[in-house]
């Protein structure tokens, strides 16, 4: 196992924990963006460049921007309220690092499968051919779900005449 992969994996887990543990939402959104960026590098290392580009542009870019935008719409809180919320936050989340460390130790004791031989089939290794020729129904599903999302958002923000 490549040492860089191990370091990237550790950074991924630490950034995910930081995303959850940090009491302020803007920092949490930034942590999510960092997690996505690290995931992108891991995907590149695992020979999946196209999915990595999607992850970087959509998840690290667009979704982080959406989160930052919605957080900026929320009203500011006073310094006193912030202190109270931070204490409540640490009361809720102090258990998480302990659970993560315990899970890591427990999981490292398990013996996972060593044989990954699948039934031999002619496998196409070009993602464009897979996506356009073999999984074209997935593309149809993506179009349908995008339209459903667009209509959903449009209906949510539709101005009623009575309003």
């Amino acid at each position: 196992m490549d040492i860089i992969n191990t370091i990237l994996l550790v950074v991924l887990v630490v950034s995910a924990i930081w995303t959850v543990m940090t009491p302020r939402l803007p920092r949490s959104a930034i942590g999510l963006g960092i997690t996505s960026a690290v995931l992108t590098i891991i995907m590149f290392k695992l020979s999946s460049p196209l999915a990595a580009v999607f992850e970087l542009s959509i998840c690290a870019g667009l979704i982080s921007a959406i989160f930052i935008s919605i957080i900026s719409l929320m009203p500011r809180i006073t310094a006193q309220d912030r202190d109270i919320r931070q204490k409540e936050h640490f009361h809720k989340y102090w258990l998480l690092p302990i659970i993560i460390v315990a899970a890591a130790i427990a999981l490292s004791q398990f013996a996972l499968p060593t044989n990954f031989n699948l039934p031999a089939e002619p496998v196409e290794n070009d993602v464009r051919i897979i996506l356009w020729n073999l999984r074209h129904l997935d593309l149809l599903g993506q179009i349908v779900i995008l339209l459903a999302g667009a209509f959903g958002v449009a209906i949510l923000f539709k101005e009623r005449k009575n309003d």
């Binding site: 196992m1 992969n5 994996l9 991924l12 887990v13 995910a16 995303t19 959850v20 939402l25 949490s28 999510l32 997690t35 891991i42 995907m43 695992l46 020979s47 999946s48 196209l50 999915a51 999607f54 992850e55 959509i58 998840c59 667009l62 979704i63 989160f67 919605i70 719409l73 929320m74 809720k92 989340y93 659970i99 993560i100 899970a103 890591a104 999981l107 490292s108 996972l112 499968p113 060593t114 990954f116 699948l118 496998v123 196409e124 290794n125 993602v127 051919i129 897979i130 999984r135 997935d138 599903g141 993506q142 779900i145 995008l146 459903a148 999302g149 959903g152 958002v153 949510l156 923000f157």
Partner: protein
């Protein structure tokens, strides 16, 4: 003797499960709807990485990439609609606390 691919799978699986646990804990512990969405995002990231990892160890990277791209598209639509719902909740309740929504149980 553990093969190299098996070692990659084992180590990455542990990392994926840890990220999944972090996201799940966030979803369970928080009442803030925005933070719940962030937890959901972490869960999705763990699943995306698992799809890519299985494609890598089984030699079907292209298929795994196609599935991961589909998952990313679904993820962004879910987040967009969820953010819209959160904004509507904020307009009505002046708060994004999920506990305030319990009055819709009837």
């Amino acid at each position: 003797m553990i093969s190299d691919m098996s070692q990659v799978f084992c180590v990455f699986s542990i990392g994926i499960i840890l990220v999944f646990i972090a996201g799940l804990y966030c979803l369970i512990a928080t009442a803030n709807l925005i933070r719940a969405m962030i937890g959901l995002e972490l869960l999705t990231k763990a699943v995306t990485l698992f799809i890519i990892l299985t494609g890598y160890v089984t030699g079907r990277v292209a298929l795994a990439q196609a599935l991961a791209i589909t998952l990313i598209v679904i993820e962004v639509v879910i987040i967009a609609v969820a953010v819209g719902v959160i904004l509507c909740v904020f307009r009505h309740n002046k708060s994004v606390n999920g506990k305030l929504l319990r009055n819709i149980k009837g």
